[in-house]
Symmetry: C2
Subunit: 364 residues, 2 copies
């Protein structure tokens, strides 16, 4: 008989969860016996050679069951996953465990797992990709207030880790001045679209790129002055015409970063947030890095894990309500069921998603 | 009959000169006639494919003469070159003029020339590589006080542009904290050796690399805690043992930069000052640039042309006297005569020089 039951209102492959729950007294638990139910999960089964292969590098597994009434909690908490977030950076953790990086490799044969969890109303944290989890700890979670105007999935995107990434990076490093020019890559994604809107708030001219015409339309809707599809338009031509760039938000790396280096203004600031172009291939190398001293550039690595906390309070005070009021816009790409996770991971790595990718696992 | 005569006390291929001179009244000029004298010069004759080829990419030319008595000055100044400076960055200007960079390409068939000159006591500026120059302008020069303890060549090195490069870059961007670890490349050169000594002043542990055992000895003499010859010792092994690196001073780029990225500490600062490894070859590309966000690195491009002025006053107040007192040390590699310039340019690109490379052209 568990000492407490929580209902998980959010989950992610390894990063961000909403957890809803209350600790109930043992005496108040319903005494009626429950049969074990399936506890589906997604396993990290094999390290990808290049792109992840759904069903091979990740496997949807339904062999486990859980008795929600009698699972031993040992003072911990039972969590029910509601929604989860799929993000580009996850590819970096699908690697050999001996390669060091800013987050540990996923353990093979298990749902990727982080030892941080929590209970209490709605919270945001890190647990395995599984319908139900039992966890001993509730350290490191952010508690969230439900906003009746917003679905919980927004707290995985524009009002979650990606939005906070954009917010803390822009506030800390852009040194943006009215009238300057920013170039934002992956401008239709949850990070890039927030950056576009923050840059417009600060009075910058914004050039934004993405990989489909639908994404270009969205970037225009949210205020980009120049929006283009990098697959059909030459990036260097656009930058030659609309630049030089004072602030570059880089989610891509590779040739896009090289183009930005060549079209940077003197004293430009480069905000390095991700390298989606290199996550699934051997990194080709940045060939014109010498521009960094030729143009007196400043380059800042952004990792929300380290920088986010400094800005989290003002972010949660400001951003969810600005989204609810319609002042800030977002776009979301939702699928349903843990069984879609493998496909959705590949969608994100391929850029086939339209906006923040979330998986809706269960109702509250 | 010239309206004024100046004596140039310094020169450089294109960058930094000491100019000594006084404007004299026409009436006080010695009336005795002077015969024309040879006015030797160094011409930039051909763009190098890789390394410069003395006698081919630069040509020493003695076909010109000058009549020091009667050369028309039109209100300008006659300058006599005394010493000049040869620096690694000069290779970057030996290029096709249509390629843009932070300094213009040298014009083919002429002594590389900058339109900035001056007269008055001792000054530091930019004029062509030529024994005597007539110039109309004295804008943009720094006036220097002679220090009886120091030869003028020091004002081309430790107390000149390279020293100021180290000084302004370190003060502006290192954010050095006592007890941190710095890694300094080309640590026996005029920039690197100043960085080593500034880092030691700030209480850092200093790892330093150079390309010969003699240079390693010099780096130890000036205070490096760990000094190694990168040609005979594996850089990555040293950094694995002595790192991680909090501050990286990069004069090299390429594999050295990649090694530093892999061995950087979280929140490390990279001070990018030069890419000697790539000046004479196709740039190979930096393959592990993704460390910049994984480790929350900050990277700063340093160009003394832009940043130096902010620190020039305190630099000239502090550094020449610290060199004269022996508190700060330097090493110098001097040759004699404009005819040696072509060879010396190659020496610098190959790293065969030992310390700051200067050419002594004439006596005061």
């Amino acid at each position: 008989m568990p000492s407490g039951i929580t209902v998980t209102a959010g989950n992610e492959f390894d990063s961000l969860w909403l957890v809803k729950g209350t600790i109930v007294e043992e005496s108040s638990l319903t005494p009626s016996p429950m049969a074990p139910v399936t506890n589906p999960r997604v396993l990290f089964a094999k390290i990808p050679k290049d792109f992840p292969v759904p069903g091979e590098t990740t496997v949807y597994d339904t062999t486990q069951t859980i008795d929600l009434e009698s699972v031993p909690l040992n003072g911990g908490f039972l969590l029910k996953t509601l929604v989860l977030s799929i993000d580009p950076y996850m590819r970096g953790r699908m690697r050999e465990p001996e390669i060091e990086s800013y987050m540990p490799a996923y353990p093979l044969g298990e749902p990727p797992y982080e030892p941080r969890l929590a209970v209490g109303k709605y919270v945001y944290g890190i647990i395995p990709h599984q319908a139900y989890n039992v966890t001993p700890s509730m350290e490191g979670l952010i508690f969230l207030e439900k906003n009746p105007m917003l679905p919980w999935t927004v707290f995985l995107g524009a009002a979650g880790m990606p939005g906070l990434t954009a917010y803390c990076g822009w506030k800390e490093f852009s040194k943006a001045k009215k009238g300057e020019t920013a170039f934002v890559t992956t401008g239709a994604g949850p990070v890039g679209s927030m950056v576009i809107q923050l840059a417009k708030r600060d009075g910058l001219k914004v050039i934004a790129s993405a990989g489909s015409d639908a994404k270009v339309e969205f970037m225009k809707e949210i205020g980009a002055d120049v929006a283009f599809n990098y697959k059909t338009t030459n990036t260097r031509d656009v930058l030659a015409r609309e630049g030089p760039i004072d602030v570059f938000w880089d989610n891509v790396g590779g040739e896009m970063l090289e183009a930005a280096l060549d079209h940077a203004n003197i004293n430009g600031r480069f905000l390095e947030c991700g390298f989606i172009s290199a996550y699934n291939t051997d990194e080709q190398g940045i060939k014109n890095f010498g521009q960094v001293f030729g143009k007196s550039l400043q380059i800042f690595g952004i990792l929300v894990l380290r920088l986010g906390q400094k800005y989290a309070t003002e972010f949660y005070q400001e951003i969810p309500s600005a989204i609810a009021s319609g002042e800030l816009k977002y776009s979301e790409d939702a699928s349903h069921g843990l069984g879609t996770v493998g496909d959705v991971i590949l969608r994100v790595q391929k850029g086939w998603n339209n906006g923040k990718t979330v998986v809706i696992v269960a109702d509250e």
